[in-house]
């Protein structure tokens, strides 16, 4: 009862405040501004400051796109210009001539991203859900098992030895997938999410109806937790798409090099691919000089484009995901 009273009071107060404010604004509209608003000068300064920051964050990408369309002669003569003297599509024609490797790497990245994300989502949600249930007798033990890995890490070298000597994953596609498929941090986030969003009463009624725990998980929990699961899936997808480190460690076979890793060694690769291409390949002879610099930038554009294009759509899920589960209960 007292809670209700307090609440009522709060509502009354704020509405009074609103009325007062409203009348104030009405009386002296020309002389007084809304007291909550910034002065126009300060607002302009903030708009400009943030504008510079926002521009600085996307300008490099625009700049790289421009360079990729600059003719190689222009780059050699004038450097990377914001408005180049001579435009050219040579870089993209050139990349097209090595499309096998590009498509291959794109394929590897897409495969790894999809398979990896599916595996991660299942492992993480299963684990997190089990340790969020009070019926699970050993939940504390398994929570600690995951949490401790956040505090103390096995280190790069032992991990490398485990992956190469114990699992023998070097130069296999699984070396790109498995090492990234779990993350204790996501387990803790999902656990908090389940603790907050899944109420025991729904589960009780399902149990009374005779549903098994697995059936409850797939038919009730999974749909109910879709926002949380989508967040984990998004984090995981981005993690796989942008990964180059595992490839740097474990992959030498050019057939298994993902996009980011291809880009990383692009200088060496441009040379390598050029040398390995059929000498009789006439496509190449159309280039008087190899568009080395612009081709690099064209590769950057090609690798970034999927993220840049989908970014405005997934951004809001990402932002809502940030607040979905604190680390603490």
């Amino acid at each position: 009862m007292p809670e209700l009273g307090q609440n009522q009071l709060g509502v009354d107060l704020s509405s009074t405040v609103k009325v007062m404010k409203g009348s104030k604004v009405k009386k002296g509209r020309k002389k007084h501004r809304d007291p909550r608003a910034l002065s126009p000068a300060v607002n302009t300064i903030i708009t400009i400051l943030l504008g510079i920051l926002a521009f600085a964050c996307i300008f490099p990408f625009i700049y790289v796109i421009i360079i990729s369309f600059t003719s190689e002669e222009s780059i050699v003569r004038n450097g990377f210009q914001i408005i180049p003297k001579n435009w050219s599509m040579d870089a993209y024609h050139y990349l097209w001539s090595m499309k096998e490797q590009l498509f291959r790497s794109y394929g590897v990245t897409i495969f790894v991203t999809i398979v990896g994300t599916v595996i991660s989502v299942f492992m993480i949600t299963f684990y997190a859900y089990a340790i969020s249930r009070p019926q699970f007798k050993y939940r504390r033990f398994f929570t600690f098992l995951a949490f401790f890995t956040l505090l103390f890490s096995g280190g790069l070298v032992p991990t490398y030895i485990v992956v190469t000597q114990f699992l023998h994953l070097k130069d296999t596609i699984w070396a790109l997938i498995l090492p990234l498929s779990m993350n204790a941090f996501y387990i803790i986030i999902m656990r908090t999410f389940f603790l907050k969003s899944v109420s025991e009463s729904i589960l009780e009624s399902a149990r009374i109806d005779g549903a098994s725990e697995l059936r409850i998980f797939f038919q009730i929990i999974f749909p109910l937790s879709l926002p949380g699961i989508a967040t984990i899936a998004l984090f995981s997808t981005l993690g796989y798409w942008n990964d180059w480190f595992t490839a740097l460690l474990y992959i030498n076979n050019p057939d298994l090099v993902p996009l980011q890793a291809l880009l990383m060694k692009i200088e060496a690769n441009l040379e390598f691919i050029r040398q390995n291409m059929d000498v009789a390949n006439m496509q190449l002879s159309i280039f008087s000089t190899i568009p080395q610099e612009s081709a690099k930038m064209a590769m950057v554009v090609i690798a970034t484009l999927p993220i840049a294009v989908s970014y405005p759509f997934f951004q809001k899920y990402f932002i809502s995901g940030l607040t979905i589960g604190g680390v603490k209960e």
């Binding site: 909550r36 910034l38 790069l156 032992p158 030895i161 880009l263």
Partner: protein
């Protein structure tokens, strides 16, 4: 024993659910922890597999550590890792909170959304791509920066071999990539603050500045503390890509770009010195672990609610 078997049976569904994750944790987290003993051994591959290799390698006591700390490298990588991380934590916190407050105060909300979208963009870019972004500015022959210096008749700088500029470049790049994420986290927290606090402050005659100082910042304090503890706990770890890709692995810059992570990586991949790089890795894990415990202990003393565990 019988009771244990019954408990296992009773919890079988849950155990089944944690099974894949547990196997992963055991192989990819706990097995490497056990592998850390290689820091005290001289690693030799045994034909009988991984365990035999680890067990049968000869004990060498502290000699890997002695070797590590006898070189200048140990001091340089520790200094670089700590100093960069301290700067990143302080500057990153100020920039993120500052940007979040400015974004929340911006009168044009549509513009605020557009700004958020652009500021967050670098977060989704890998450092491989980031390093090309940097290259377009710093390339000695073609880069924008040398071009601009040319207008002022200043000689071109060979950026990738001049170490004195890199502390600034690395801090700048770390901010470039991180400020968006940080500010969005704080912005979400600012938006959640009850508006009536501000109304009450205004009735008391608080200026905008005073509202920020006495309402917004105190409300953000718990989040600032928890994120800072987590960062301090990771103060011995660095963003590998920032220190490896962005300087393009340039040897001339190692004195200011080599951190524990890059040192361990190069020790393993370039030198093949398993003993010493494992020792460096264990040094990193161990000190990091102690730091989390200490920070958490202090926070717990000061403000129990904000402690991580």
């Amino acid at each position: 024993m019988k009771k244990f078997a019954r408990d296992i049976y009773k919890n079988r569904v849950w155990l089944l659910m944690v099974l894949p994750g547990t196997i992963w944790l055991l192989i990819f987290s706990y097995l490497p922890m056990f592998g850390q003993v290689l820091a005290f051994k001289k690693f030799r591959i045994d034909p009988d597999g991984f365990f035999a290799s680890v067990m049968n390698s000869e004990w060498v006591g502290w000699s890997n550590f002695k070797y590590l700390f006898s070189t200048d490298d140990a001091w340089v990588i520790t200094r670089n890792t700590l100093v960069y991380n301290i700067i990143f934590i302080v500057v990153g916190l100020l920039a993120a909170v500052g940007t979040a407050i400015l974004l929340s105060e911006l009168m044009n909300k549509r513009l605020s959304k557009v700004y958020q979208t652009s500021i967050l963009f670098p977060h989704f870019i890998s450092w491989v791509i980031g390093s090309y972004f940097v290259f377009t500015f710093l390339s000695t022959e073609h880069g924008l920066l040398n071009h601009v210096l040319g207008w002022f008749h200043i000689d071109a700088v060979s950026w990738y071999s001049e170490s004195k500029y890199w502390p600034f470049i690395l801090v700048f790049m770390s901010l470039w990539k991180g400020v968006g994420y940080g500010s969005i986290v704080y912005l979400a927290s600012i938006v959640a603050i009850d508006r009536t606090y501000y109304e009450a402050a205004m009735i008391d005659g608080a200026t905008k500045w005073k509202q920020i100082k006495h309402v917004t910042l105190p409300m953000l304090k718990p989040l600032m503390i928890i994120l800072t503890i987590m960062n301090i706990g990771r103060i011995f770890n660095s963003d590998f890509g920032l220190f490896y890709q962005v300087p393009r692995d340039s040897g001339a810059l190692y004195s200011v770009t080599n951190v524990i992570d890059t040192f361990v990586y190069r020790g393993l991949m370039n030198l093949g010195d398993i003993g010493m790089s494992t020792a460096a890795g264990l040094y990193q894990s161990f000190v990091g672990f102690i730091l989390v415990l200490i920070t958490n202990y202090i926070v717990r003393k000061v403000d129990e609610e904000s402690a991580l565990f």
